[in-house]
């Protein structure tokens, strides 16, 4: 951690250098941007007669970090794909630094916007250094050779993400967090003004999740990232965009977006929020114990349970989470428990819990 902390400070210095450099070089054609890195208005896209994105509008100030949150299938990846021009929206305009995105050629666009995607193909037999050097592609014509300054750029990027010692290793052999950092280094080499990431913290343990997010903040450019972990989004993003079923439900600071009511409506879970002791943004505590089932028997059990419940606004949305009072009133071990329930349960109930958990996980997998 100490090492990482040290790296972040040098990183911030460097990013400051970089930002000032950008101002010098990029100032001439970016006069009409009104301080916004990106402005999206009335964006809609549908696939196979199904609306994936409808009427999405938002803007992102330069240098800020926007987190796109929402349940699976809400359209996060599709929105990002529209932003980096991989899919063409049916409606709406996207302007980047004051210009419509169609104004840029493919190469110019790649010099403005770098993208880090979730999955890389197999048989990817590149060393980390070579992977990072791929970021030079949009800056090179067919006859351009890799110069010493390019090599320095690559070395600097590797240093920024703390992977200098892994430069010669095969990318495939890196750990998940290192892979993600290598991809971010590639994006840094691309020298973009906007960085788009599709769930960069997926499959990473918590330390790497925080590391990646802090690294993104330290680069010092505008960042748009989709993110699953609401607490991480709350802690790290300046702005959040909450998507549900292709619609923008809320947009604003984490404090204004992440309310208990909204989370329960969009994500179908029960939670309470309180200010985080360190950064003051909402800290979400989820409640557990949702009875999933498709049989009528389950349903009646849940109805019964819901009937006995204490008043919980959040449960109006078809939630079957129970408060702490309702313990022991469920039939057939379809037990839901509240905050304190774990203390109260005896061994037998614990084993039932475990069974319940495994069925929940299976249910989730089916959904995915």
């Amino acid at each position: 951690m100490k090492l990482w902390g040290k790296e972040v400070t040098t990183l911030e210095q460097m990013s400051r250098d970089k930002v000032s450099g950008d101002k010098v070089s990029g100032g001439e054609n970016l006069s009409a941007d009104n301080g916004y890195a990106l402005t999206v208005s009335d964006l809609s896209w549908h696939a196979d007669d199904r609306a994936i994105l409808s009427d999405i509008s938002f803007s992102l100030a330069k240098g800020e970090m926007l987190g796109i949150i929402g349940p699976n299938g809400a359209g996060k990846s599709s929105l990002l794909r529209c932003l980096y021009r991989y899919i063409k929206p049916d409606n709406g305009t996207i302007s980047l630094f004051g210009h419509n995105t169609s104004y840029f050629s493919a190469k110019e666009f790649a010099r403005q916007v770098a993208v880090v995607l979730q999955d890389t193909p197999h048989h990817f037999e590149l060393t980390t250094e070579q992977l990072v050097a791929i970021g030079l592609t949009p800056h090179k014509g067919p006859f351009d050779l890799t110069t010493s300054s390019d090599r320095r750029l690559v070395a600097d990027a590797l240093e920024k993400v703390g992977l200098t010692h892994k430069a010669g290793q095969i990318y495939e052999h890196l750990s998940g967090g290192e892979k993600q950092r290598a991809l971010i280094a590639r994006a840094i080499v691309q020298q973009p003004k906007l960085l788009i990431l599709d769930e960069p913290t997926n499959h990473l343990d918590i330390r790497y999740q925080i590391q990646i997010m802090e690294l993104l903040r330290a680069i010092g450019i505008s960042v748009i990232t989709s993110i699953h972990d609401l607490n991480l989004a709350s802690a790290m993003c300046d702005q959040l965009l909450l998507l549900d079923d292709g619609r923008c439900v809320a947009h604003g600071t984490p404090k204004s977006v992440l309310t208990e009511q909204r989370i329960s409506e969009v994500f179908d879970v029960c939670c309470s929020t309180q200010p985080h002791p360190q950064h003051g943004n909402p800290q979400i505590s989820y409640f557990y114990g949702y009875s999933y089932g498709d049989s009528t028997h389950d349903k009646s059990a849940n109805d019964e349970a819901a009937h006995d419940e204490t008043n919980h606004d959040e449960n109006a949305h078809g939630l079957k989470a129970l408060g702490q009072n309702s313990l022991g009133q469920n039939s057939l071990g379809k037990k839901a428990f509240g905050q304190n329930s774990l203390d109260k349960t005896d061994f037998e109930e614990n084993s039932l819990d475990r069974r319940h958990w495994s069925s929940m996980e299976r249910h989730k997998q089916d959904e995915d």
Binding site: Y84, S105, A114, T120, E129, I134, L136, T137, G168
Partner: protein, 378 residues
């Protein structure tokens, strides 16, 4: 502080990869020159290595040097008119097929892609056989089909006819290859995620279709055309001549040069279609361009030395194993050329009375290699 750290850390790690690669091209170039001379001393006629050197010196400087004995005129003609063009053609073919295979494997990200598997070779064979059957009635190809294993055609027939015959065969092969590529591209669809699987499957389908059409043509054609199909399906460098070398050499060199200009983009394609798109690459267009270039190389080679399979599969893999993470196009070309020359030497010397088609040898080695890759990929 920053620079000192970079300097102290990056050279060893970067150097380890670079050193091997840095020496690869010079070493292989020297090996190629030696091979060119050494391979010329193998064959039916007994000509020693020193004889070959003597012939070369005699031809370049006009005199035998160092008091060496004068080589007989026949031996000199064999070396200069039969063996050197043949070795060069083998080298060009090996290099071209390896480059095509390497590029196809990269732009489709399919480790098993090769010109043969993509239906390019069978399309080219069909085009060539079609030209032969169409014109065999006019006597245009009587010679080239019967004189498969003879080096130079006589000189009968008018010059125009010969030119037409000389140009229509590669043209037919190229058109056949082009048609097969376009069909594969139409079948593979626009859906990026499934495009590559579909591409391979449609390549196999197109391969079978052209194979069947070739068989159909053969069924109704003269025995001469039937004999020539053996050449097109198995490959041989026996037809090599200095004049015939020009076209393949120019095409292979030019195509390799163009591919080298797109090296960065091709490299980036490895990161996946979507990532390549975000790096400013027009993915489908680049893939189309590279497929067309590869089909051009393959078509011209098939037209000159038949369909030699598995070279385009084996060589890029071997080179990639030796130099992981690079796109070493020149190295691949040189290794492919060297491999092909020695396979051809093997084909010429394995049986004492006659020569084997090279395609048989490459197919034997290649199929074993194919299974080896399949085994190691899991």
């Amino acid at each position: 502080m920053k620079t000192s750290q970079v300097n102290s850390v990056s050279p060893p790690s970067a150097g380890r990869v670079d050193i091997g690669h840095k020496w690869a091209v010079p070493t292989l170039s020297i090996l190629s020159v030696i091979t060119l001379l050494a391979a010329a001393s193998f064959g039916a006629a007994n000509i020693s290595f020193s004889d070959v050197i003597n012939v070369v010196l005699h031809n370049t400087f006009g005199t035998a040097m160092f008091g060496m004995t004068e080589v007989s005129g026949i031996a000199e003609r064999i070396v200069m008119e039969l063996r050197f063009p043949r070795i060069l053609l083998a080298f060009i073919a090996g290099a071209g097929l390896s480059v095509a295979g390497s590029v196809l494997q990269t732009v489709t990200r399919n480790p098993l892609a090769d010109p043969y598997l993509f239906g390019i070779s069978s399309g080219a064979s069909f085009g060539a056989v079609l030209v032969i059957t169409l014109f065999s009635g006019s006597g245009l190809f009587a010679e080239s089909s019967s004189g498969l294993f003879a080096s130079s055609s006589g000189g009968s027939g008018s010059g125009l006819f010969e030119l037409l015959g000389w140009i229509s065969l590669p043209l037919g092969a190229f058109l056949g290859a082009g048609v097969s590529v376009l069909m594969v591209l139409t079948l593979c669809g626009r859906n990026m995620s499934s495009q590559i699987e579909r591409m391979l499957l449609s390549g196999v389908a197109i391969s079978f279709m052209f194979g069947a059409l070739t068989s159909l043509l053969l069924y109704f054609s003269s025995p001469q055309a039937a004999a020539s199909v053996l050449f097109w399906s198995l490959g041989s460098f026996a037809k090599a001549s200095w004049e015939g070398l020009l076209f393949p050499a120019v095409v292979v060199c030019a195509a390799t040069g163009i591919i080298l200009l797109f090296k960065r983009q091709i490299m980036a394609m490895r990161a996946g279609d979507e990532t390549a798109h975000t790096l400013g690459i027009n993915v489908s267009r680049l893939r189309l361009q590279m497929l067309l270039l590869c089909s051009l190389i393959t078509a011209i080679l098939v037209a000159n030395c038949g369909g030699i399979g598995f070279v385009g599969l084996m060589i890029p893999h071997t080179v990639r194993m030796l130099f992981p993470g690079r796109f070493p196009l020149i190295t691949t070309a040189l290794v492919g050329g060297l491999f092909m020359v020695w396979i051809d030497v093997l084909a010429r010397t394995m049986l004492s009375s006659q020569e084997l088609p090279v395609g048989i040898i490459t197919a034997v080695i290649g199929s074993i290699f194919f299974l080896f890759i399949l085994g190691s990929r899991r």
